[in-house]
Assembly symmetry: C2
Homo-oligomer: 130 residues x 2
């Protein structure tokens, strides 16, 4: 077994032995590999966008702190929920997943804020629904 | 008060009265408005990408089911964790948030799978770490 085959085996452990048995299985392995490459590209895009999102919400927090605004804006939250619901439906995504995504970024923003405060830093105003 | 002013008040409830008091506050309101527009754009992009991601993972599930592959691939999980960690650091995002994102999509995929199965449909193989 060559070095590159060894590497290939390491990267597709559960499928490779079955793939050796018949061409249909080999086709399935190739399909999964291709789909996973697309999934990886989607994840790269989403993680990069999340980085930008947290930069924006931090800036909102700073602006709010300086201006003395309240951190929570429930009207904004309502609009966001309705908006993401509509985008999800148009994109063919279960709206519940869009809502879970929104809750996820809000929860992470809260945790982030708490960590900064505990470390003695100034986290600004927590902009829960930024 | 005109109709459009009334609308504006409804859409920025917590900031508008303070904004009327001084120009600095008005500037802060304008900044928050601009940042929120960017946050909304990021959310539109992420929700659209999540729609694509769930389509891809569903397809992986179908291919796996047809080929009789195991649903979980722990080697794939390890690679994904390391990969997203690196992307997060390069993008200026706390890697913990990238890991939470990964756990979020896996959890949602599991719930989705369970719902389809409970409704009597064929959810294919649950591709936990697709």
């Amino acid at each position: 077994m060559s070095e590159s085959e060894q590497e290939d085996e390491n990267s597709t452990t559960i499928d490779r032995h079955m793939a050796a048995e018949n061409p249909e299985t080999a086709r399935a392995v190739a399909q999964i590999k291709e789909l996973r490459a697309s999934i990886d590209n989607v994840d790269t895009a989403i993680v990069s966008l999340l980085a930008e999102r947290f930069k924006y919400t931090s800036r909102v927090g700073v602006v709010k702190a300086r201006a003395g605004f309240a951190p929570a804006d429930y009207a904004r939250e309502e609009r966001q929920i309705a908006r993401l619901h509509g985008i999800a439906e148009a994109a063919g995504l279960d709206p519940e997943i869009a809502e879970m995504y929104r809750e996820f970024v809000v929860t992470e923003a809260k945790k982030r804020h708490k960590r900064i405060a505990e470390a003695g830093g100034n986290p600004g105003v927590l902009d829960v629904f930024a």
